[in-house]
């Protein structure tokens, strides 16, 4: 009874782990442990990815991620990192508008923005 459940969970595993119950049992246990751990890690990983994407998007205009985030907070823009990364990817004009707003607030205009990075 349990054997079939385990072998079902072991689909796609490498070598004997997917067919032989004694090996599969161990690998399935481990896979479930990884799944538990990584459900929590996924949230962290996604946030790190969004931050990287926002950073890359902002640096196109010579503004660093840290400046962008603190600038948006100062102007009471409530967009979270997930949404900002979405904008950077799919709505580049809107993202540029946000970055420009922060750059303007900080006194960095486009020609000088490159110097701020150096």
């Amino acid at each position: 009874m349990n054997k079939d459940k385990i072998l079902k969970l072991a689909k796609g595993f490498r070598g004997r782990s997917k067919n032989c119950i004694r090996v599969a049992r161990e690998r399935v246990e481990k896979s479930l442990q990884y799944a538990f751990r990584d459900r929590k890690a996924k949230k962290r990983d996604m946030r790190a990815l969004w931050i990287q994407q926002i950073n890359a998007g902002a640096r196109q205009y010579g503004v660093k991620y840290s400046s962008l985030i603190s600038g948006l907070a100062a102007q009471n823009v409530g967009l979270n990192r997930k949404m900002l990364s979405e904008l950077a990817r799919t709505e580049p004009l809107s993202f540029k508008a946000l970055v420009d707003q922060v750059a303007h607030m900080r006194g960095l205009s486009a020609p000088h923005a490159g110097a701020a990075l150096k």
């Binding site: 196109q60 799919t90 709505e91 540029k96 420009d100 750059a103 303007h104």
Partner: protein, 130 residues
């Protein structure tokens, strides 16, 4: 709840004790609100069952065979009424609609997705403040 004219809740049993403290609300409910509930729901096979020494509960039997039990330990009579109405308004199905917050769209981008070409064009534009 009725589906296509057929009531889904078939039987409702209120189990309670005549002496214990946890059944206090249930006893008041039986005295004051139960007749009103039964009169308003003639289609329902509503019965009272005295179960000495046990906590009170409402047991609901549905058309599809599912039995739902709601514990009424230390509940107010109003709350018990609310639960009875809730059971009557339900079908025997499990939660049919799972909350899914992931959004999928055929048109994820309105302004056009980012490409290096788009970026070059954007770089030429002056910022609004300047």
């Amino acid at each position: 709840m009725a589906r296509q004219g057929v009531w889904q809740l078939q039987k409702l049993i209120l189990n309670y004790c005549e002496f214990s403290g946890s059944s206090r609300g249930a006893r008041v409910f039986v005295e004051k609100l139960w007749p009103e509930f039964t009169a308003g729901n003639p289609q329902l096979d509503a019965t009272l069952h005295v179960h000495p020494g046990r906590h009170p509960n409402l047991t609901a039997q549905y058309l599809n065979g599912r039995v739902r039990t709601v514990g009424l330990r230390n509940e107010d009579p109003d709350e018990i009424m609310r639960q009875a109405i809730l059971l009557r308004s339900s079908t025997g199905r499990k939660a049919a609609l799972q909350v899914k917050t992931r959004q999928v769209s055929r048109n994820p981008s309105i302004q056009g997705p980012w490409t290096p070409a788009v970026q070059d064009a954007l770089k030429q534009k002056q910022p609004l403040g300047a």
